[in-house]
Subunit: 324 residues, 2 copies
């Protein structure tokens, strides 16, 4: 039996206030609004707010007024800006909406938790990270179906408040995503490996190809197109994401360099690429096995019972997901 | 004015004999046959031949009989096996079909040219390489539309016979592809950069991700899925392709390692990934500019006129294509 069938969701009716209406925040505002939930947003760009308003959504360029509304509504506030911006937003949240539960959709979790602890220590916060995106950015790229069947990591520490956790997990479920419970540190190491590192290997693969010749780019087909796609994402957004997870990224980057040096030595000294190709094929097969099947649900744990967070994390490390 | 409008294609009516009916060879047999051209094939696997025959194509497991038919037909013979197999096939071609024009669809060009010069020195040969594929292989993956709008490199050396060149280029055009003229060495350096290297970076990216945890693979989304796709190709085919282009691959692999080390040092010492991300973004933009627009045609050269091969190569280095 899973949690939601026995535990009332305390926030099903709470409004959601989204700060930042780019690809992720804008898509979240749209999917929640379209599902009938009260949702509104803030963006500093008048152009974005005008576009959102014209499309029938509630949005404003007035941060203080938006947060005062959130406070009056007891809304859940969602940080949906690049991580480099949140230190500017947190003091305003403390000033105008300190009573609200805070979550975020930012791709690193330790850096966000540290900023919240430093700048908004009295505010309840449960982090989140939807694993969805495109190489496009901004309101014009938003899509209410962006999160459909995506994985949405929700920070799950031993000290996490279970009601707050359920409220944040319910937002992910409302958006159509599966919930992946994890500690902030484990999340950051995982995304360094499967998201941040692929940005660097894509960037370097693109640079070597383009450096060869226009003939090479003319001959480029599927392997180059797919292997370099994320290098096309906005550089400022890539930098903000990768640099906020520097230590975990350094570790996987060093491992990547070691593996490529081993491949070069194998090719130079023995004329083969057997080990690197076989290792890569085995790894891709493991990924396809996990990604290709419907995710298995976490079972046998009720959020809030003793040891719930540890048990959710344990099952998530077996690639299971929480479905409420 | 382009070549085909003034130069009669001497081989429009010649049959085509395809040796090897995997993804590339099988797709070629299907597209030529479906277009009404006489085409037949050989494969050593009875299962593949039975599947091709059942689908209405002419195929045989008898190499000698197939080549004797090609000789009687004055067919163009296409080597469509992994490069590791051709040394076994070339003596049979010399024995049974030495009069036929030979081409190939193999992903390296210098190694093939050397094998032909060594084992079939009297046989006319113009190499080719269609830049198309999927991570699937074998007859069941074949698709007559595989080459539609793809780039098909045709070896273009100073000593290449113009009639033979036109006959091979006409096959590419019949399959729906654009023709990219290049010298074998330039081709091999280009595909090392934009095809073979991406296989290695995909393999290593996959291995690092899978090595982290099942949680990481569960969180993996678009950047990992696309960036590791080609690591799922059959390992034996990847090895045959990469190892036959070892020297060119070593060069781009070393450059890749140097760039990743520079990125690691930048991240460790300055906390940024600015240079690597900006370089990658610029490179991806250059690729998209070339790949995103309809290719410009090579103009002002007639195949066979003095200096034709050099002029075709010169324009191909500007990313132009030959359209006949």
């Amino acid at each position: 039996m899973t949690a939601a069938s026995t535990h009332p969701d305390p926030s099903a009716g709470l409004p959601v206030c989204v700060l930042g209406l780019g690809l992720i925040g804008g898509s979240l505002l749209r999917t929640l609004h379209d599902a009938g939930r009260s949702a509104y947003g803030y963006n500093r760009s008048g152009e974005t707010v005008a576009a959102a308003t014209a499309a029938g959504y509630r949005a404003s360029t007035d941060l203080a007024a938006t947060l005062r509304q959130a406070s009056a509504d007891n809304a859940i506030v969602v940080l949906a800006t690049p991580v480099t911006i949140i230190d500017d937003l947190l003091p305003a949240i403390v000033e105008h909406a300190a009573n609200c539960l805070l979550t975020d959709v930012i791709s690193v979790k330790q850096a966000v938790a540290e900023s919240v602890a430093r700048l908004a220590p009295g505010v309840r916060h449960v982090g989140g990270h939807p694993m969805a995106g495109t190489s496009q950015s901004g309101w014009t790229a938003t899509d209410p179906d962006l999160f459909r069947d995506a994985m949405w990591m929700v920070t799950t520490e031993d000290h996490t408040d279970p009601d707050d956790w359920l409220a944040v997990a319910a937002i992910a479920r409302s958006a159509g995503a599966f919930v992946v419970p994890a500690a902030a540190g484990a999340h950051d190491r995982a995304v360094a490996a499967i998201s941040h590192l692929p940005h660097l290997t894509a960037a370097v693969t693109a640079a070597v190809g383009a450096g060869e010749s226009d003939l090479a780019l003319r001959l480029a087909a599927g392997s180059f197109r797919d292997g370099t796609r994320v290098a096309g994402s906005a550089p400022a957004l890539q930098r903000a994401m990768l640099e906020a997870n520097g230590i975990a990224l350094l570790n996987v980057l060093s491992e990547t360099i070691d593996r490529l040096i081993a491949a070069r030595d194998e090719l130079r000294d023995k004329g083969t690429v057997e080990i690197v190709v076989d290792d890569g094929h085995r790894a891709r097969s493991a990924y396809q096995q996990i990604a290709g099947a419907a995710p298995l649900p976490i079972t046998g744990v009720t959020v809030g019972e003793p040891g719930w967070a540890q048990e959710l994390r344990r099952q998530a490390h077996q690639a299971k997901v929480w479905v409420g």
